[in-house]
């Protein structure tokens, strides 16, 4: 007797962007102390890797949780086009009043991807570098 199985699919995407960690509510000295090198006024960049996990029933007609023919263009439109080769602080609406830490970026990307209509986005994880990653789950944890 075998039990029911949950199936999820994870896909990795990449984009490159620059940012600067700076909070205008803080003094320059506090920004420098808090954010260190990341506070450099000219900004700096990363090759971000976004790992997205989607889940749901496997459609027996296609064998898929979601067709990547639908999901890849959705991620392209919602994440790659808005953020690739951009300056996160200024090139979009989300970080006009928020510090573009990768924690905040993960929340923004999760909100964008959670609109996917054909499967549930369960998790978004972003690698800022090969040594740092930031993870958000759809249930708010």
């Amino acid at each position: 007797m075998t039990g029911a199985v949950k199936v999820s699919l994870t896909r990795r995407y990449r984009f490159a962007a620059s940012h600067r960690l700076h909070n205008s509510a803080f003094t320059d000295e506090k920004n420098s102390d808090l954010y260190g090198k990341c506070n450099n006024p000219y900004g700096h960049g990363h090759n971000y890797v976004v790992e997205v996990t989607i889940t749901g029933p496997v459609d027996e007609a296609t064998g898929m949780v979601a067709n990547l023919g639908d999901f890849d263009p959705f991620v392209q439109r919602e994440v790659i086009e808005p953020f690739d080769q951009k300056y996160l602080n200024e090139d979009g609406p989300e970080f006009q009043n928020a510090v573009p830490t990768t924690e905040n970026l993960a929340k923004v990307i999760y909100q964008r991807l959670s609109k996917f209509p054909k499967a549930r986005v369960e998790r978004v994880s972003i690698e800022e570098t090969s040594k740092n990653s930031f993870e958000i789950f759809g249930d708010g944890h």
Partner: protein, 148 residues
Amino acid sequence: MIRITRKMEFSAAHFYHNPKFSAEENERVFGKCNNPHGHGHNYVLEVTIAGEPDPATGMVLDLKELKDILQREVGDRMDHRHLNYEVPELAGQIPTCENIARVIWQLLELKITRGKLDRVRLYESPDLFVDCTAQNGDGSAADSGARN
């Protein structure tokens, strides 16, 4: 509880085709994966077993034994095979990463001699993998998403 994970690789061919679809629909839904000549992947399988270590051996499950189970159940069935034609457990299913992982879960679930099968992770490429895990007792975990 301790989780142990063993990795293995196998290489196989497949293509996606639903005989109930028209040729145009197959092409539209499956794109390049519909090529009837097939194509292949180096699949990477990670199998995780959860349990308490045996006090006498210090092991959840002897990795040598797990390696042998994986070879027998997965390697011997799928390595250097065409998944559309040569794996009876996949007959009638489209050999997507989802379906292959689910079949591997079913093949392994009752063959694990100590501990419990916790997760099957199957990489089709470094940028795409599927996880199979046991669904919550109330059945809510897997079926909360909208159907494609």
